[in-house]
C-alpha cells in the first residue's frame, strides 16, 4: 500500500515537472507542425465521412487560433513573426470545399487576403464561390463590392456586387452604393434607370427621399455629360470647365448638385462633384483626389 502511494506521488511529481516544458514545447512549435499535416480535400472528404461540416469548422478554428495566438505573441515581441498567409489561405480554401456554407472561412479569408496579402482577385474569387451556395447572404456580395471598388477600382463590378447585396438585404445603403458605382463607372444612364426603379418601389418616405436626391444628382451629372459631348462634337475641342458649357449655352440652366457640392470637369474630361454625391462630402476642388467620384 505504501509502495503504491509512493509510486503515485512520484508520478505526480514527475508529471508536474514535465508538464510545463511539454506545454512550452507544444506552444512554440512552428506553424507546419502546429497545424499538423493537412491532407488534400479529396482525402479529407473520405476521412471526414459524415462529419465534413465539423472538419471544415475545425480547420477554420485551427487557423483562427493560430492567427490569434500569433497576434498576441507579436504584440509582446520585438521581432514579430509574419503569419503564414499562404498556408492559412490554403486551409480556408480547403474548408470551404468541405463545407461551402461556412461563413467564418469566407469572412476571415477575405479580410486578410485583401488588407494583408493584397490578393484581391483571389479574395473575390473565393467570395464568388461562396455566393453560389450562400444565396441568401448579402454580406458576401457586399464584401466583394467593397473589394472591387476600394482595392481594384473596378466600379462596374462593384456596382454589380452592391446591387446583389441590396437585393438580398433590402438595404437602401447597398442600392445607393450600387447606383453610385454605376455612375462612377460611366454607366450614368444605367445608374439613373436602376435608381428610378428603386425609388418607385420604395415605400419608406425617408429612403424614397434619399433615392430621389441621388437620382436628381445623377440626372444633373448626365445633363453635363450630354452637354460636354455636344460641345466636343460641334467645336472639336474639350471644354475646360462646367461654367464654360453654361456660358456657351450648352447647359441651361446651370447644374445644381443637390448634395451641396459643385460640379466640375477633371483634366481627362470626366464629370465629378465636390460633394462626392453625399451630404457632408463637400471639399475643395483642388484637394479632390479624384478617387471614386468621377465618370466618363
Amino acid at each position: 500500500m505504501v509502495k503504491t502511494v509512493f509510486a503515485t506521488l512520484a508520478c505526480l511529481v514527475l508529471y508536474g515537472i514535465l508538464i510545463v516544458p511539454f506545454t512550452e514545447y507544444l506552444h512554440n512549435r512552428p506553424f507546419d507542425e502546429k497545424m499538423g499535416y493537412i491532407p488534400s480535400v479529396t482525402a479529407l472528404r473520405i476521412v471526414a465521412a459524415d462529419h465534413k461540416e465539423l472538419v471544415a469548422a475545425s480547420l477554420v478554428s485551427k487557423v483562427l487560433m493560430y492567427f490569434g495566438g500569433l497576434s498576441v505573441k507579436n504584440e509582446n515581441d520585438i521581432l514579430p513573426i509574419l503569419p503564414d498567409y499562404k498556408r492559412m489561405s490554403g486551409i480556408l480554401h480547403g474548408a470551404v470545399k468541405l463545407d461551402p456554407y461556412n461563413m467564418d472561412a469566407y469572412y476571415f479569408a477575405q479580410s486578410f487576403l485583401t488588407w494583408d496579402v493584397k490578393q484581391y482577385k483571389l479574395a473575390n474569387d473565393l467570395l464568388d464561390y461562396g455566393m453560389k451556395y450562400r444565396t441568401w447572404d448579402w454580406m458576401l456580395p457586399f464584401f466583394a463590392g467593397f473589394n472591387s471598388a476600394y482595392f481594384m477600382k473596378d466600379y462596374p463590378k462593384a456596382a454589380e456586387y452592391y446591387k446583389r447585396a441590396g437585393e438580398l438585404s433590402g438595404s437602401e445603403l447597398h442600392f445607393s452604393l450600387a447606383g453610385r458605382y454605376m455612375q462612377e463607372s460611366g454607366q450614368t444612364e444605367l445608374a439613373i434607370s436602376y435608381l428610378s426603379a428603386m425609388e418607385k418601389g420604395e415605400r419608406n418616405p425617408a429612403v424614397k427621399k434619399n433615392y430621389q436626391i441621388r437620382l436628381s444628382a445623377f440626372k444633373e451629372a448626365h445633363r453635363i455629360e450630354l452637354a460636354r459631348d455636344k460641345y466636343r462634337q460641334e467645336r472639336k475641342a474639350e471644354p475646360a470647365t462646367v461654367e464654360q458649357l453654361v456660358r456657351a449655352g450648352y447647359l441651361t440652366p446651370a447644374p445644381v448638385d443637390p448634395y451641396g457640392g459643385t460640379f466640375y470637369l477633371t483634366p481627362d474630361g470626366k464629370v465629378a462633384t465636390t460633394s462626392k454625391f453625399a451630404f457632408g462630402g463637400k471639399k475643395d476642388n483642388s484637394q479632390n483626389d479624384g478617387e471614386s467620384h468621377e465618370r466618363n
Partner: protein
C-alpha cells in the same frame, strides 16, 4: 418476438449503456463555449457540433451493440436456452435487432432533446442570420438514426457468419467508412477525370456501389445547419432505400442464422 425486443432493451439498460451515453453527452455543455469562438456563425457551429456529437455517439452504439449482441449470446450460450423455447431463430434474430434499433432511436431522441436545448441557448445569446429550422434538425437526427440502424443490420449479418466479435466490429467500422464514400467514388468514375482508369476497375467500382450501402443519402446535416430546404423526393427515396436494404440484410441474416450450426 416482442419479448425478445423487450429483453434486449432491458439488457442494454442493465449493462448501463444509457448511463455511458449520458456521461458522453456531458460534452453538450461545452458546445456553446466552443461555438462562441466563431466569428459569424455561432448558432450554425453549435448545430454542427451537436449533430456531429450525436452522430458519433450513435456510431459507437451501432458498432458495439450491433457487433457484439449476437456474438455475446452465442459465447455465453444464452442462445441455447432461449432457442429451446418455442421461438424460431428468425424471431430471435429479428427481436434482437429490433431491441437494438429501438435503443438507438431512444438514444437519438434523448440526445436530440439535449441538442435542441444547447442550440436554443446558443441562439438566444448569439442570434443567427439564418432561421433555425427545428423540423430539419429533427429529420437530420432521424435519418442519422436510420443510417445507424442500417449499419446495425449489417453488423448483425456479419455476426451470423462470424464466430468472434472481431469481424462484426471491424467489418462494421469498415462498412461505415466505405458506405460514406461510395457516392463520391461513383461520381468520380463517371466523370471525365477518370478516363485514365481501366474499364474493369470502373465496372468493379460500379458493381460495388450498388452492393455496398450508401450512407451519403442519410446525411442531412448541411440542410439542418444552414436551414436549407429539404429535398422531399430525396427523403422519400432514402426512406424507401432504408426499408428495402434493411429488409434484404435481415432476410439474408435470418436465412444464415437459421442454418447456422450452434456448438
Amino acid at each position: 418476438m416482442k419479448t425478445i425486443v423487450a429483453i434486449t432493451l432491458k439488457g442494454i439498460f442493465r449493462d448501463k449503456v444509457f448511463q455511458g451515453i449520458m456521461v458522453t453527452a456531458l460534452m453538450f455543455l461545452f458546445i456553446p463555449i466552443f461555438a462562441s469562438l466563431s466569428m459569424r456563425q455561432v448558432t450554425e457551429l453549435t448545430i454542427t457540433l451537436s449533430l456531429s456529437l450525436i452522430s458519433f455517439i450513435l456510431l459507437l452504439l451501432s458498432v458495439f451493440l450491433g457487433g457484439t449482441s449476437l456474438w455475446k449470446d452465442i459465447e455465453r450460450r444464452y442462445t441455447f436456452s432461449v432457442l429451446g423455447l418455442p421461438l424460431s431463430r428468425r424471431s430471435y434474430l429479428l427481436g434482437r435487432f429490433g431491441g437494438t434499433a429501438l435503443f438507438v432511436i431512444i438514444a437519438a431522441s434523448v440526445l436530440g432533446i439535449a441538442a435542441f436545448c444547447v442550440v436554443a441557448y446558443s441562439s438566444s445569446i448569439y442570434p443567427s442570420d439564418r432561421p433555425i429550422v427545428w423540423g430539419s434538425m429533427i429529420l437530420c437526427i432521424l435519418f442519422d438514426a436510420l443510417k445507424y440502424i442500417l449499419l446495425i443490420a449489417f453488423a448483425f449479418l456479419l455476426s451470423t457468419v462470424s464466430t468472434s466479435f472481431f469481424l462484426p466490429v471491424f467489418g462494421t467500422i469498415a462498412m461505415f467508412v466505405t458506405g460514406g464514400v461510395t457516392q463520391q467514388v461513383y461520381e468520380y468514375i463517371h466523370s471525365p477525370a477518370s478516363k485514365t482508369l481501366s474499364p474493369f476497375l470502373k465496372q468493379t467500382a460500379t458493381a460495388l456501389y450498388y452492393i455496398i450501402p450508401n450512407f451519403g443519402a442519410f446525411d442531412l446535416k448541411l440542410y439542418a445547419i444552414y436551414g436549407l430546404p429539404l429535398p422531399a423526393n430525396g427523403l422519400l427515396m432514402t426512406s424507401a432505400y432504408f426499408v428495402v436494404y434493411v429488409g434484404l440484410l435481415l432476410s439474408v441474416s435470418s436465412s444464415i442464422f437459421t442454418r447456422r450450426e450452434m456448438r
